[in-house]
Amino acid sequence: MTYYLTTLGVYAGVDIIACLALNLQFGVSGIVNFSFIVFQAAGAYTAAVLALPPDSQNGGFQHYVFGAQLPFPIPWIAAAVVGGVLSVPVGLVVLRHLRVDYQAIAMLVLSVIANLVITNARPFLNGAAGLSLVPQPLSDRFNAYSPTYLWAYVAVTFVCCALVFFVSQRIVKSPYGRTLRAMREHELAVTALGKNPVVLKMTIFVVGGVIAGLSGAILVGFITIWAPSTWLYPETLILFAAVIVGGRGNNWGALFGAALVPVGFEEATRYLPQFGPPGLVPALQWVAIGLLIIGFLWFRPKGVLPEKPGRFAAATPVVGARLTKEPGVS
């Protein structure tokens, strides 16, 4: 039971972090990043190979690069860095010249290709079988299977959630976030007002990549396995569904959507009795995700918790009087 609850907690935290990142990219800035899960995977693989011992040490049953066996915070930090660094070439190629609809297609294709490449390039990250026996953080000092450790892991996950939420709020409520929203609404007009759209898109794309990389590290440190089957492109669609249902552009919405769609939805359907031919229930899950996205875009496009406009203290009629309250997005 402890194991089940803590697993649920870590998954919830990771999904919240991922949804916050996707909200910055897609909800706030309008970047349709259909390859989001690739950046989470990059973080997970990075953290895994930096924590694992050299692959010769475990009987050679899996093959991978590095095997650096680095102590705890380093693999996580490196995962975030790799998520950000990987965003640079992807962003420069996809976001600079392509039209938005082609950007979405390019991202989707990238996600599929990246998965195929990793699956088939076995010596790199152990191919389709993936990596297993990834050491948990600090498992050399603590018993990684004790309830205390598991709950502490959940706590650390939620601290990371809080940190990411804090950063996301600072961005969304700032003039920078306002300019990103304006770019989402009308890119050419923003350009004509002297804003460089490449800089705007690249900065937020890299921020999203850093957060995605971190989310991957948190997840792999807990589940101790990572394989191409854990980051197929439909995983990104679930996150999109969460952001759309929760409310594009609203961090609280991303949080709510993450709790509702990836966590609540998948958990709820897990206990459905098996019926029909094998594979029917998972297939129906996808149908439901699709219906959820279409239904919300149709009936409630702004989501459960819509984006809030900036609120500013009322202008005081007295000339020269100071504003009574600080202006800002509420």
Binding site: R170, S174, A182, L193, G194, T203
Partner: protein, 275 residues
Amino acid sequence: MSPSALEPTAGSAPATGTGLGVAPQPMMTVRNVERHFEGMRAVDGVSIDILPGRITGLIGPNGAGKSTLLAVLAGTLPASGGTVTFDGTDITEWPAWRRARHGMIRTFQLPSEFAELTVLENLLVAAPNHRGESLRGALLGRRYWIADERREVARARELLARFSLSAKESEYAGSLSGGQKRLIEIMRALMLQPRLLLLDEPMSGVHPSIIGEIARYLEGLRDGGLTILIVEHELHMIERLCNPVIVMAQGKVIGQGSMIELRRQREIVDAYLVG
């Protein structure tokens, strides 16, 4: 009425209006500029000078290439040929955002409001040199940029009051009427304190009383030294505000001068100034 705090910062001399004596150095020179759309020459070898401190009119029939020329000058469309210089610098290859930062600001013929931002936010987006507008500034937090924000909010409200839109400041720009969206567009441009303002039909769909307000305001800005290029079909306004006026047809400039001079030219009257 002087536009007080909204005055452009550039200290160029006001228009002399006489046209005698030493001709002023043009602010923008356009030479043989072309813009093709799959072989169609929307702008076909245009050469004009835009003189500082004046309101230059650009008129011509539908499809003459006025908006395309304006876009090429503002950099929102690249030129297919020719050169554009600004203050003596060749800016032909500059992207639009870089031109905007040097004071060349355009508005759009079609509504380009940020629909899901409020009216006030629409204006604030345009604020130049805001400390909170970089990722770094955002991460440093509100205390780092709040002074800039207060200053820009005050400036934006001053503009909103001038164009009688104060009551709408908290509404989504997407919910405004067509004429109100025009005003947003103009106010957004003015937030940047431009040196050269390129306006594409700023008065279409705007109520006559507000048109008068816009005209008075533009005259005030001109007298403060701002240079303006305005595309407009409303010839009374062109006559009142603009000197010189440039006439385009089928991608080419077919005449320029004061409105009085243009009315004397047979072929221009035939092409455009019917009646």
